[in-house]
């Protein structure tokens, strides 16, 4: 039963991160603006992160579906989620009035807030449980 649930969670997470990554790949300028608005990275890194991050989300999401690669995928996703959570927390602490840009780039649809922190904490937990935990055979 646990193996089935972990397998289902990995499919969910893979789909979620592919869904999160695609709009950022299709509109890198818009995503670079989202990254810039956090005011955390130096100029030289903003566009590089905006180009690389969505592909990391997609590659790591797909890796979750491959038994031999799932831990590496989970490590990346947990790391990315951790970094995003830290950026959101800093943004909230500094009173930034910005969008998260986590799953959509449409303005006004993902304002940063405590909900985004809670959601990311749940996703980190799910990622580690489903991807990093003791190997379980898929059904």
């Amino acid at each position: 039963m646990k193996a089935r649930l972990q397998f289902a969670a990995r499919i969910f997470l893979a789909g979620l991160f592919i869904y999160a990554g695609l709009p950022k790949i299709l509109a890198p300028e818009a995503f670079a603006l989202v990254v810039f608005r956090f005011h955390l990275l130096p100029d030289v890194l903003i566009n590089v992160v905006a180009l690389l991050l969505p592909w990391l989300e997609i590659c790591a999401g797909l890796a979750l579906l491959l038994p031999a690669w799932r831990r590496a995928g989970a490590a990346w996703l947990a790391g990315l989620l951790g970094a995003a959570t830290a950026a959101l927390a800093l943004g909230l602490a500094r009173g930034l009035d910005i969008d998260c840009g986590c799953f959509t780039l449409q303005p006004g649809r993902s304002h940063i807030g405590l909900w985004s922190l809670l959601r990311n904490a749940l996703l980190i937990t799910l990622t580690l449980w489903a991807g990093w935990g003791k190997p379980a055979h898929a059904p």
Binding site: I25, P28, E29, A32, L33, F36, R37, H39, D43, V44, I46, N47, V48, A50, L51, L52, P54, W55, L56, I58, C59, A60, A63, A68, W69, R71, A72, G73, A75, W76, D97, I98, D99, Q106, P107, G108, R109, H111
Partner: protein, 154 residues
């Protein structure tokens, strides 16, 4: 560890290739320090996001000033906004064509996140003695992208 590194290399190769294939590739280094939002922050101006602007427009909680040329304003503007092109703002204020109380919350905007007029108008108003000024740097383009309605005067 090898697989963690392999995912990074694959993602880097994909991002570089796809960006290279784009009609207008995103430059690896952007000119973000010259971006209007960065300049606004360096000038000590407060920025508001789309959510704050939407609430202010819905509740009539602030005077929203459109800094674009009058023709652009007439073609379409944020509901309830007033036209105050930044280059004739002084004239509009001295001739009392637009009356603004000093402490009233004011939000300025222009066309997009790469235009200067909203910032210039906000800085002008601050120099003139207005104290509660913020900039919506996304401009009318971001307002529209968020599904906001637009008023026109044609």
């Amino acid at each position: 560890m090898f697989r963690v590194l392999a995912i990074f290399i694959l993602a880097t190769a994909c991002s570089a290739s796809v960006n290279w294939l784009r009609r207008a590739p995103l430059p690896l280094r952007g000119e973000w320090s010259k971006h209007v939002e960065q300049r606004a922050l360096q000038a000590g101006l407060q920025l508001v996001g789309i959510g704050t602007l939407q609430r202010a427009v819905a509740a009539h909680g602030a005077r929203v000033l459109d800094a674009r040329p009058p023709a652009d304003f007439r073609a379409g503007h944020i509901p309830g906004a007033q036209s105050m092109p930044f280059d004739i703002a002084a004239e509009l204020l001295t001739s009392m064509q637009i009356e603004l109380q000093r402490e009233i919350p004011i939000i300025t905007y222009c066309a997009r996140n790469d235009c200067d007029e909203g910032l210039e108008l906000a800085l002008f108003l601050r120099r003139t003695g207005y104290t509660n000024i913020t900039l919506f740097a996304g401009g009318l383009a971001e307002w529209r992208a968020a599904g906001g309605t637009v008023e026109s005067e044609r």
